[in-house]
């Protein structure tokens, strides 16, 4: 990507966007890990209902989809992190505060889903 005009020499917005990206990737990876069937023979019983897992994972990953859409829109609207508005300063924070709260809530929900699944099994 090449952009006109000056950019932050420390590449702070890019670093922050990359931090978001790897957080989202880890989130989806953990969700997929939970979606996977146990390593043991499923006929042995004990596993959590796959439909429960699918529904729960879809719910939390939907929240992450909202975050991805928000990050993409905001990144484009700020000229790839170059300037947030007429002042010409980079966007800070890269995502809106509600996105941070949403990510926290989705992560907490995933943790609770995993714990609840162990109780249900």
């Amino acid at each position: 990507m090449s952009h006109p005009g000056p950019r932050d020499s420390g590449l702070q917005p890019e670093r922050t966007l990359l931090a978001w990206q790897r957080t989202v990737i880890v989130f989806v990876a953990v969700a997929l890990l939970y979606l996977r069937d146990p390593f043991e023979d499923p006929a042995a019983g004990g596993g959590v209902d796959p439909l429960y897992r699918l529904a729960a994972v879809l719910a939390v990953v939907a929240a992450v989809g909202v975050l991805i859409a928000h990050l993409r829109r905001r990144w484009r609207a700020t000229a790839h992190g170059l300037h947030d508005d007429a002042t010409g300063n980079p966007p800070a924070p890269v995502a809106r505060p509600w996105a941070l709260v949403l990510l926290s809530a989705a992560t907490a929900a995933l943790a609770l889903v995993v714990a609840a699944g162990a109780v249900l099994a």
């Binding site: 932050d8 420390g10 702070q12 917005p13 670093r15 922050t16 931090a19 978001w20 790897r22 957080t23 880890v26 989130f27 990876a29 953990v30 890990l33 939970y34 996977r36 146990p38 390593f39 043991e40 596993g47 959590v48 928000h70 829109r73 905001r74 484009r76 609207a77 700020t78 300037h83 947030d84 508005d85 007429a86 002042t87 010409g88 300063n89 980079p90 966007p91 800070a92 924070p93 890269v94 995502a95 809106r96 505060p97 509600w98 941070l100 709260v101 990510l103 926290s104 809530a105 992560t107 907490a108 995933l110 943790a111 609770l112 995993v114 714990a115 699944g117 162990a118 099994a121």
Partner: protein, 146 residues
Amino acid sequence: MAGRPTTEGAPDIADHTRHADGTDRADRAAGADSGGPPGSEPDYRFTLANERTFLAWIRTALALIAGAVAVLHLVPLDWHTGVRLAVGFSLTGLAVVITVYAPLRWIRVQKAMRRDQPLPMSALPVITAVGVALVCAAVLLGNYWS
């Protein structure tokens, strides 16, 4: 929201007059982009560093959840059921504590930076370290007491 013209950037660190200009902030659910008034907008690099720290905490929580998924769901362990559940619930509990604390910590740091105050201390690193140490001890116990 992304294309809103009143979107607020972070002014230079020397600019302490920005919030007297009557920028419309009433429609922002969270008060402001970075902690809200009072005070002045901190250097955008500090705001971004704070955001990355928050994300690092979230990844820590996700790693703990991955461990809980392995113990509670994925890996067949011939551990004592109580130990297995204790390890799994400790990991998920720690993750929930971190996810509750991380945004609060973010907003506190942001407010302190706006007011040019020292950053608040956080008990979270100690909680996480002690919690993980206890989980390690429980894992050892689970391996030898099945």
